[in-house]
């Protein structure tokens, strides 16, 4: 994380986010959330210490555990990154979930259908197909926002449910595994499975590299500057001659592509097929992770690893202490509540005193 300190050219506040004080807020939020959850566990009659010990030794205690943690973290880094890119453009993309699902299903389709390709061609193709479909789903919201003024929060939420319905339908009809009762696709070809190097999943490195690339694009390129400017003040951006409509749509396309890639990586690296029960909640976790990471492309990585570790250790924790794995959902919600309260006031308070996401129109 040493390079994160050198971001002098970055517009506005993000560069300042990496002083000690601002890092304290997420850390304290995580600790307080864990204490609150411990009280709830106590009330349910479980021992929180056993639960947390089991959770973290499973997640970080062994090489295999760390591998599983990084595997779980990969889609979280990507969905967090997707939400962060949207927020940078002043768009609240709650639809990472739907975009991720469509990416996961599309990658499964590409992984099953294309035959006889070598891995170094098959895997990139399947990843691109996943990113493409994720980007289309997000693009609908971007287009409606830019040209019809429909608020992206509503359309992305609606599209989450729509995508889930359609994916469910396709997985139980056209794309269903032949001669199988379960609603799921066939297993992808061996050539589409992403390799694991000594417990370390390839997908994680792709995700981290992409986070670095996005950080560079937002901070150092003209397109990144456009996105940041539109996010900070739409009217000023328009006045400066930036096409707000085009920027909004392209930000949504990028955001959706990243989320779709998250789903594709999950399919090709972890699940090897698509089933409706997979991928649940990954996109929503992205919101918490993006805000926990202070909407910084690199800041989301530690948050994603923390949450990924909890997800990886949850099953074992239930075995050891009887605490339901949904504890992680509760922790995420508490963390989100605690981390946003002081953060958002600072991050989104722009000079015009107007809230960025006001109203349903404009």
């Amino acid at each position: 994380m040493s390079q994160t300190k050198v971001a002098p050219k970055e517009v506005g506040k993000p560069a300042k986010n990496f002083d000690v004080g601002s890092w304290l807020v997420p850390v304290i939020a995580v600790l307080v959330a864990m204490s609150l959850a411990a009280i709830l566990m106590r009330l349910q009659g479980s021992n929180p210490l056993t639960a947390y010990k089991s959770l973290f030794t499973t997640a970080f205690g062994s090489a295999a555990g760390i591998g599983a943690t990084l595997g779980k973290s990969t889609p979280l880094v990507l969905s967090g990154l997707a939400v962060a890119v949207g927020l940078r453009a002043g768009l609240f993309n709650i639809g990472a979930q739907g975009q991720l699902l469509s990416g996961a299903l599309a990658a499964a389709w590409a992984g099953v259908t294309f035959e006889g390709l070598p891995g170094y061609i098959h895997i990139p193709i399947a990843l691109i197909v996943g990113a493409f479909f994720g980007s289309i789903v997000a693009g609908i919201s971007g287009f409606l926002k830019a040209y019809r003024g429909v608020h992206e929060v509503i359309t992305t939420i609606m599209l989450n449910s729509i995508v889930m319905g359609i994916a469910d339908y396709l997985a139980s009809h056209q794309l269903r595994e032949p001669d199988q009762f379960l609603t799921r696709t066939s297993e992808i070809q061996a050539s589409a499975k992403m390799p694991v190097y000594a417990h370390l999943p390839l997908g994680f490195f792709i995700a981290v590299a992409l986070a670095g690339a996005i950080w560079w694009i937002l901070g150092r390129t003209t397109s990144g500057f456009r996105i940041e400017t539109v996010g900070r003040n739409r009217h000023a951006a328009w006045y400066a001659g930036i096409s707000v409509k085009r920027t909004v749509i392209s930000a949504m396309l990028i955001s959706g592509a990243i989320a779709g890639l998250g789903g594709a990586v999950e399919t090709l690296g972890i699940t090897y097929r698509y089933a409706p029960a997979f991928n649940l909640g990954l996109g929503f976790d992205g919101i918490t992770i993006a805000l926990l990471g202070r909407v910084h492309p690199l800041g989301i990585i530690p948050g994603a690893i923390l949450i990924g570790g909890m997800r990886a250790g949850a099953a074992n924790m239930q075995f050891d202490s009887g605490v339901a794995p949904e504890l992680v959902d509760l922790l995420m919600a508490l963390i989100l509540l605690l981390v946003t309260a002081p953060l958002i006031t600072r991050f989104f308070k722009n000079s015009s005193n107007k809230s960025m996401t006001s109203g349903w129109g404009s």
């Binding site: 609606m158 949904e326 989100l336 946003t340 989104f348 809230s355 996401t357 006001s358």
Partner: protein, 327 residues
């Protein structure tokens, strides 16, 4: 009032269509309309939450979470105490607290209101899925009450006057809210705060106080919508129980132009569409996969918003925190 207005046209169309269906098959039409009304009520009530908040300038997208957590509390407290009235009271209290939290975030902390609402939604999802226990039951749901005399009217009786207690409370709240918004000083003040808070402030209305009060009461109404689902319409609770109804309600609020009766009409249309889709499936007239009927409300919401966007005008100060002394 113009006799040939667009609105009257819609009314006439609705009446003619109903009469046509009724003449073809009275019993089925009546039952479809009664089901439609039952589907519409939680949506209409949730839309009232949105109207109450937005008329004072607070965007509340946490309705979904408010409904979910209240439905949860209503069900599990009823199950624990074996008394649905206690469950209902606890649910309304929970909903009001959710409203209060939103008010603290939006008014006092001046947070982005969309994010504040999303926090409520994620919090409700997290709490309900962690605390959810399988296999609990409640003693009974709110049983249907037949209003004397009125329920005997053909068609209108079964559709409007045979429902559980929560339905009647809900309808009363919707009508009361309509009167209150347009014909009381509270309503005038609320609208003023939502349109131009600094003018209202100059005239001596406490912007922050009114926003706090309205958002908190609205939370209680949202709780009623949630409790209606778990204690009257369905009688159970599952994870993700509210299934996007809180968001659909926001679209209905916009479609109804922030007017309680408009939102009620939109909710009825929506509820009826769903009831008809169900009936068509039962009759095997059309074979739509269940996944497609399930996504119908969401598709319709997007279509409605796409059509109506730009043609409707939300309260002017919506979504903006107010600071004393600002222009």
């Amino acid at each position: 009032m113009k006799l040939l207005s667009k609105r009257n046209g819609y009314f006439l169309f609705a009446i003619l269509a109903t009469a046509f269906f009724y003449s073809k098959d009275g019993d089925i039409t009546t039952s479809v309309y009664a089901t439609g009304a039952a589907f519409a009520l939680p949506l209409a009530l949730a839309a009232m939450v949105g109207i109450m908040c937005e008329r004072t300038g607070i965007v509340n997208i946490g309705i979904e979470g408010t409904m979910l957590l209240s439905a949860f509390v209503a069900f599990f407290v009823s199950s624990l105490t074996q008394n649905i009235i206690i469950g209902l009271i606890c649910a309304v209290f929970t909903g009001s607290m959710m409203g209060l939290i939103l008010a603290v975030m939006a008014v006092s902390w001046r947070m982005d209101q969309i994010i504040a609402g999303t926090i409520l939604n994620i919090l409700a999802t997290g709490l309900t899925s962690f605390l959810y226990v399988q296999g609990k039951t409640i003693p009974s749901v709110f049983q249907a009450i037949e209003v004397p005399v009125l329920s005997k009217i053909p068609f209108f009786g079964p559709v409007l006057f045979i429902h559980g207690a929560l339905t009647f409370i809900g309808i009363a709240i919707i009508l009361a809210l309509y009167v209150a918004i347009y014909h009381t000083s509270w309503g005038l003040r609320s609208r003023a705060v939502g349109e131009h808070p600094s003018s209202a402030d100059t005239a001596g209305v406490s912007v922050a106080r009114l926003r706090y009060i309205n958002v908190t009461i609205a939370g209680g109404i949202g709780a009623l919508a949630g409790a209606y689902l778990s204690l009257e319409l369905v009688g159970s609770f599952e994870r993700g129980f509210t299934a996007g109804k809180g968001f659909t309600a926001l679209a209905l609020m916009i479609f109804g132009r922030w007017n309680p009766l408009g939102a009620l009409a939109a909710a009825l249309f929506f509820g009826l569409a769903q009831a008809y889709a169900n009936q068509l499936m039962i009759d095997q007239v059309v074979n739509i996969p269940t996944q497609f009927t399930a996504i119908l409300p969401y598709v319709m919401t997007i279509v409605v918003l796409t059509i109506s966007a730009g043609k409707v005008r939300p309260p002017a100060a919506e979504g903006q925190p107010y600071e004393k002394g600002q222009a």
